[in-house]
């Protein structure tokens, strides 16, 4: 089989993917595979991410859809979201929750935030990170019997921890 792209070389990379229920095949030679998809296709694009985002059959057939979901805040429709790969406003997350959540779970492997927040919880992550780095250094300094350095590191940790408590 010849390469779909250059039509010259033998195709050695074959892939098939279902996008909105339509199977798409791709057969490329090694050189075109490297040019077109330098790292294979598993990375996906925003469009791939959104490919099975909705239950609709195809973005080209809006007429057959009974009702097109719309965000009440920014008026963006699910079709626009699907086409651009981006949401219109924070409210879109709620408006299109039913469609978004399965996709978020698949891409992020979670739907629950575990990081910092603007209201101060875990807000000192940088300081905590520095403390954990210093603690590792402290263990190493003690292991190496480098007690002068260990003492300096210890006081840095104490200072950072004091800073966290006073904030």
């Amino acid at each position: 089989m010849l390469c779909d792209n250059c039509k010259n070389e033998k195709a050695s990379f074959h892939s098939a993917k279902s996008i909105n229920g339509i199977m798409k095949e791709r057969n490329l030679c090694a050189s075109c595979q490297a040019k077109v998809f330098p790292f294979g296709t598993q990375m996906g694009s925003f469009y791939d991410i959104f490919a099975d985002f909705t239950n609709f059959s195809s973005p080209l057939e809006p007429a057959i859809r009974k009702e097109i979901k719309k965000c009440s805040n920014c008026t963006r429709t699910i079709l626009e979201v699907e086409k651009s790969g981006t949401l219109g406003c924070p409210n879109c997350y709620e408006a299109f929750s039913e469609n978004l959540m399965p996709m978020i779970l698949r891409v992020q492997n979670s739907t629950i935030h575990r990081g910092k927040s603007p209201n101060g919880q875990q807000i000192n992550s940088a300081a905590n990170l520095e403390i954990s780095r210093l603690k590792k250094e402290l263990i190493k300094a003690v292991d190496d019997e480098n007690f002068d350095e260990a003492s300096i590191i210890k006081s840095k940790i104490v200072e950072l921890e004091r800073g966290l408590k006073t904030e």
Partner: protein
């Protein structure tokens, strides 16, 4: 493990934030953009703390393109000029992009392998901004972003890596697969898949939700170290198998950079990459590694014109590049043996 700039070129951390109750980027307008830029600028202390506020005049502007070549702003931000702005610190290690896909993107770039330092810099600015500017945040989903791939922490941690060993041995595909299982992505930086890429790749986290910032940071650091180890081994094999042919190719590349009359961008990327590999093998010494690394950016089209202080035709640019590169390399390279 000591990791030099000959494998990890630079470390970058980026946080995506949006202002509460405002539409995301696509519906962003000039008034919003200017107000947010000024608000953020004032909050982080403005000029007093050594920051400057810039506004590229158009997507084609020389100053804007120079910032893009230095990776201080993204292609997307530049395309939105003159609506978008960027706040930069004096040492050009921190840039805050206003009006990108998300309203605020805080970015820190450090030379070499220094992801912790970059993270601390962005986290600090984020804390200052969060104190006074209401951000779009949900208890469940975290920081709300225009694209769900940035949702949650809004954190992208990435290392720019120079990987000639793995590229030449076609082992990158395996690394990409292995990293993908760890939810890490490896992408070519420019000219993907061709020799002109200069073997530069970016490794970054794919997941931004469901993990703490520290967990994401540590996962990227440990992935970078795995790739560094694989690259070191590949370089050893390359040296053993390549022998005189490899040495010849590298020295010819240096010859081109030192004596050519004109050099195109793609040829510069390829030959500089080989020279960098040659320095790793000890074929020559680089007396000033900062100057050497800086040359990769200085030789890009807009940066060259900025150095030359005038607009140049492509041919004149290639001639100027050849002379500039030759002058710099002559002053910092010492060839060992024959």
């Amino acid at each position: 493990m000591t990791v030099n700039r000959d494998i990890v070129v630079s470390s970058r951390v980026r946080l995506a934030r949006n202002i509460k109750n405002l539409p995301f980027g696509m519906k962003f307008n000039k008034l919003h953009s200017d107000n947010i830029a000024l608000d953020v600028y004032r909050n982080i202390g403005g000029e007093r703390t050594g920051f400057g506020l810039y506004k590229p005049s158009s997507p084609e502007s020389l100053d804007g393109t120079v910032l893009k070549e230095k990776r201080l702003i993204s292609e997307d931000l530049l395309s939105k000029a003159p609506l978008a702005s960027v706040i930069l610190n004096e040492s050009e290690t921190v840039s805050i992009m206003i009006g990108e896909e998300d309203h605020i993107r805080i970015q820190s770039i450090e030379p070499g392998f220094n992801l912790n330092k970059s993270f601390i810099a962005t986290d600090k600015i984020d804390n200052i901004i969060a104190k006074n500017i209401p951000l779009s945040f949900s208890e469940k989903l975290g920081y709300l972003t225009a694209c769900p791939t940035n949702l949650g922490t809004g954190l992208r941690v990435s290392a720019m890596m120079f990987l000639p060993g793995l590229s030449i041995y076609n082992s990158l595909e395996e690394c990409v697969q292995a990293m993908s299982r760890l939810n890490m992505a490896i992408r070519g930086v420019y000219g993907e898949g061709s020799d002109s890429s200069g073997y530069l790749y970016q490794l970054s986290n794919q997941r931004t939700l469901g993990l703490s910032e520290e967990a994401i940071l540590e996962a990227v650091i440990s992935s970078v170290l795995k790739i560094v180890e694989a690259e070191k081994q590949a370089r050893e094999v390359l040296l053993n198998e390549g022998g005189a042919t490899l040495k010849d190719k590298i020295r010819r590349a240096l010859g081109t950079l030192l004596y050519a009359h004109k050099i195109e961008s793609a040829e510069f990327n390829t030959t500089m990459a080989l020279v960098k590999l040659g320095a790793y093998y000890g074929f020559f010494d680089i007396l000033d590694s900062n100057k050497f690394e800086k040359l990769f950016i200085e030789a890009q089209p807009a940066s060259l014109q900025s150095i030359c202080k005038k607009k140049l035709s492509q041919q004149d640019r290639d001639i100027f590049r050849a002379k500039y590169v030759s002058d710099v390399l002559n002053s910092i390279i010492q060839i060992n043996g024959v």
